[in-house]
Symmetry: D2
């Protein structure tokens, strides 16, 4: 048996993590062919990555054919799995997403608030094209999407492309399990969290270690220690005791944007002054990562990669591919159709849920009703996401406006127009759908 | 035929409006007995009102027996309709609801945000007691609730008392119809607005004049003229063109708290400095109203009453009673069980909807799906309301905390505890359910 | 103001009832132009009807222009209302629907069981074409469908044509109100029945006379007197006391097919032997009706028409047109989108419900949950109807098979194939969708 | 670690299968204490079983303490698992359930139609008492119910007792997997069927062998070979090709009652004449089984047990206990709360579904929408089940009547009364809830 993996956005600095994951699992998951794909602008980085990947493979002694190309459709031939990790507009676009909202008095973040909406607007049309290519060229291939906002993008693909074999992954559930394991002094493999919600808005309802409910210990610990289980790109302020005691849920690190908005906004404004945007920091991180990657003696994934917020993303993806290929019937937390799992959401909503993973993809474990204390917030976010997807595809100015109004981090109707107009203008080149015809912004 | 009306909170300054409404409709709606009920603290005002009411009735020449009493259960005997217009804790409590949140940086308003929650906490247990009395003493009587937050209170009564003949009314739909009629140069009786949502969070979807859809004209007008169709207690900033153009819905005046939060907060802080709270203004209004009411020559409802935000509330209630008594089968906008009218809400949610009014009470006209652009906001508010009701009844500190977190005007978990604790303490005497046992705040 | 009505199937023997209804309402509903449309095969009858109609109009002295044509698209120009009363395949097709199922041991009925399915198969494609014509030629016109199975046909049009102004009507609710009024010795205009369900499967939940609940009296009467409130085409066996006492609902005459299947089957087999099919009886009725109609001295609707099962159908339609045209905001029982009215059904299910009738069409009064005792039966019938519609449009043999299996009057998988195959063959000419390609019956 | 199992109905002839299952799993599932409980009337059989069980345990060499008792509450102390396999009224009651309906012209079957309803009426009150005892005495114990009608009984317990740790099991999914494995020449452990529906009304949607979809092969085989995968108590007629080809689902053996009603009825009437009821056959089987069991040399489960329809039931239960105890996180098909898994059913409906089994019990894998071709039938059966549960608890004659009407195998309102009355009378002693007060039948 042999398996072919195509990595869209192969020039990403995260790619070595995938390569490492593939090598490590080679005996059970025989990925014998990897094609790294990127666009013209990313060619130099793509070559650096491809060379590092080749050295890693060579060191491993596994018989894996690795190639790179700028011809996506060529690469897709005979693919079994297609992973997507692209950044439309690059870090420059991210910088705008972070800087412009802050200027208008709003959270500026890559996957939340106005920034997250713009990222969705730029990304969804590109990935819909990819999905159509996949459907035509390798219709049995699974798309493993880890491009953010991963939940929204996955829902857009599942709803609006003909290709229905799409799964979204994120490292947040992985991180929450690992941090919780640390709190409980347990091995992560023993820890199960009952997740409920959507990507970047997921809560933990109950924590089990080997089937024993230990939720209360985790909540106590969260409330006591201002425990921080955030990825590298999020600096947490910790959660107040009263909040944790009353909510009785494990928040995820991104919840700070919604439940600590004022303080986070102040902190982010401060940080902007001192260090610039996260995009700028990441640019430097990337630069030094690629310097490291270029070292011809390097033949392993360097430690420095873990400083990025997306660490373990690729590992999560490799585990998923493994379970699909081997029909493992294990439980992993991924983004897929709700199919009734959360009673209050339609079947075709994409949720982040514990799923049974088989050769036929993921199926969520039934959750039932949303917890009353966050039911409204989850339904509102999902409704917001639906508006983002509609606007991403239609390029309709009024729908974009509605998405901004529906976002709990924006909402303020007296400030939306200038914010939206500036963002649409700043990202003009990456948003052809908003610039067709001469409709203009209004 | 003869009908008995019991007015709970009969000493309210709004009562003359009810009296006027009853007199005006006497020929078709023979309310021959009115009992004004109030509590000991309100006895003086109750007597002033009762005397004015008697003079009004005398002038009218109608054979209406009017009496006042502090004995509620006595008054309820043989009642056909029971209207409720009480203010637990009086204007002093309202002042706290307005002042304390502002101090903490939040909107301080009587029926929205923290103030609205506290009003619900104070009111719901009292009205549940009333409903049980009604159910025992006059089980066929309809309770017409116009005590705020009217939607939440009505849902609490319908869900948690044995008495199921409860209808909530508000003057907002009435005002919106009248303002819209003015915009369209039409008679209010010709204008129909398709409402969707809940009390104080209701939107207009479409406007018809004699069945002709004239929504666009109203929207254009709203966007152009910063048109203000707010009641006296709300100063509107007007709505931006972009907002109205993209939302394509008629907001209600209270929506400014949710979609213009920052500006309203600034304005309210400013207003507090200059004029004190709205409660204090109303105290003065009340004082001069009661001076006017005491004038023994006065035998009509004085014009000055219309300066209050609740004007027309009682007129709305009288129309409703008329349609029930006469099985009119007309359409009025009231608060009642959803019963499927909005597909996304449970049957036992209370919505503010256009209803067919018969002798058997109101039944909503089916609405179908919520408009996508506000679906999330409506679902979130409804979910918040459910938490408020639970906490109102249980007196559970954590549920109160959840309700605060769930409110889109509060949400900020780092500030909730001090806000909630100060409010619970300030209103201690009116919140026995939160002070049973020694559980304390936490 | 002037209104144009187009009658599709104008050669129907029921048309004089429409003409009478139009004349009677002329002062408030100025239908000044009527176009009777039929197909070539029906030309002779069409001319007879048109001539009678002209005499009726002349006698009335109203200024109504009446014309007939075989050119449907021409007739639709400037139409305001389009009524549909067609019988694809004529009474010969009906005869097959009645005779063939009986031969196989199943109920043979025009609108229920196998016969009803075949009628839907024949009718839906034709009326979908009409709806597309209407949408193109007179997009503001309302289609008033009284072609059976009226509920299924209306759902097919509303779901599968671009034209959304379609309302289905039936005389069953009208008949139930009139019979109930008789039981209660009341005027039909005072009687309201809360209907729940679908066309030909609708139940009465509660009966009100001037708003007073008198359901129990009606149920007692139904149980006692074997009361028969069936139209002319249905001979009722009466309902047993135990059934009425336990169900506490008013069945409609068609429910006998579902709840008295064995006895009705025996009776129908007997009747077939003695009198032939209902179709054959109707053929004779029609013959004598047309003889009467041809009498040049006749200038009114003859009494004899009321012997047909569809009597009052047209009157129901005229009332509906009147309320739409005059924006009456009254309550009529019609077939339209559920839009949440019944909580267990999707928004786009067509139900037969009490609706508010305005210029913008009907909107159901919210019903809430289905009554537990018939919830399952109603959901099953609705699900069956969905399968019929799918098969009507696709012409897919397996979907037709599924519809047969799903019908509670058929269900028997060991007999379906021969029944279905014989019916598809017998109606071959009217079912082009099942005969495209060479797929054949399997 | 040690585990205590209590077997309610320990005198059942199926008990040796449980004992065998416990012994076989002893190394991973240390059930060290088994208490067999029965009622006075079953004492003799209980002792025979207990003695056989002891010999089986002795032979196995495992350290399992086995005891028997008539004192249920005593036995429940410290229980970890409580299995229920009772037959209220014994085989005599079953005989009536089978014979009386046939006499009235209806299917007479133990778990379907009128017989199934009566079994539910007799069983539910008894098991609700048990559940309350469990909740009081051993609140952490899981009740594993295999008393039929297992789905209805499980829903009754989960909805109407305080004890929420109840799981229903059945051997039908097990049998379907085994038969399918045979068809596909695969090992049952490799075969997964996606089940949808309720106990005894469950369908297979798709069949996977090691994750490969092989549904079509199974369907082809079912249609071709009249393949019979029924348990011993059901003689199958096979399914017609047309049915399988159009439905594209795997029926379960009980579906013959619903989709082949006439033929099964004829066959059963014939069989009754020739062999008497199944109850009578089983009585003889039981007799000879107990003769075999009494043999003091017997120390294994005898082969003859497999001739009973319930074979493998206990094995299914032991596997379930094993997975719970060991937190196996594997997939088993059991009866539990829907919790959204089937979008059309409420959260608290009990469905038979593929579930993830953990120490915290089962959670269904999300299914999404019901297959269109059986959606109506499934919803109707579920609605029927709800009526049965209500009547079982209330003992209300009219609710019982409604349940009979709602059952697709009865439905005929003109025959219900005599059938229901005769059954209620025949089972009088086992139906105290229907005989309280003097309400009488009507």
């Amino acid at each position: 048996m042999s398996v072919k993996l195509v990595v869209i956005g192969g020039g990403s600095s995260y790619t070595p993590e995938i390569i490492e994951g593939v090598i490590r699992r080679f005996d059970s998951l025989p990925i014998t062919e990897i094609s790294l794909v990127d666009i013209e602008e990313g060619k130099d980085k793509l070559i650096v990555i491809a060379n590092l990947a080749k050295r890693m493979i060579e060191k491993s002694g596994k018989t894996i054919q690795l190639s790179w190309t700028l011809d996506r459709r060529q690469a897709l031939k005979n693919a079994d799995f297609v992973s997507t990790q692209i950044r439309v507009g690059g870090l420059n676009a991210r910088e705008k997403d972070e800087r412009i909202p802050l200027k208008h008095g709003f959270i500026g973040q890559e996957t939340n608030g106005a920034g997250g909406i713009m990222k969705a607007f730029r990304t969804i049309p590109i990935l819909l094209e990819l999905a159509e290519d996949v459907h035509e060229i390798c219709p049995n291939a699974w798309i493993i999407n880890f491009t953010n906002p991963a939940g929204i993008v996955t829902e857009a693909l599942l709803k609006h492309s003909a290709h229905k074999k799409v799964i979204g992954v994120c490292n947040i559930p992985f991180n929450m399990i690992h941090s919780t394991a640390e709190i409980l002094n347990a091995d992560p493999s023993q820890v199960k969290i009952e997740f409920v919600g959507m990507n970047h808005f997921v809560f933990g309802q109950r924590v089990f270690v080997d089937g024993i409910n230990r939720t209360d210990e985790v909540l106590t610990s969260l409330a006591r220690e201002n425990l921080d289980y955030s990825p590298a790109n999020i600096v947490s302020l910790g959660w107040s005791k009263g909040f944790i005691n009353s909510m009785k849920l494990l928040p995820n690190p991104y919840h700070q944007y919604y439940y600590q908005t004022t303080d986070i906004l102040s902190k982010d404004k401060e940080a902007l002054k001192e260090h610039g945007t996260r995009a700028e920091i990441v640019k430097n991180l990337e630069k030094s990562l690629f310097t490291i990657y270029s070292n011809k003696d390097l033949n392993v994934k360097p430690k420095e990669l873990e400083e990025r917020g997306g660490a373990f993303y690729s590992d999560v993806a490799c585990s998923l591919i493994d379970s699909i290929y081997n029909n493992k019937e294990d439980i992993q937390t991924v983004n897929t159709f709700n199919d009734g799992a959360i009673a209050e959401l339609p079947n075709d909503s994409v949720i982040e849920a514990n799923c049974l993973i088989t050769k036929n993809g993921p199926k969520p474990i039934a959750i039932g009703s949303l917890p009353a204390q966050v039911k409204g917030d989850i339904l509102q976010m999902k409704s917001f996401e639906e508006l983002v997807i509609l606007a991403s595809i239609s390029g309709d100015y009024n729908q974009a406006y509605q998405a901004f109004i529906a976002n709990p981090l924006i909402k303020d109707e007296r400030k939306v127009k200038s914010l939206l107009d500036e963002l649409l203008c700043a990202h003009k080149e990456c948003l052809p759908q908003f610039n067709k015809g001469g409709k203009g912004n209004e």
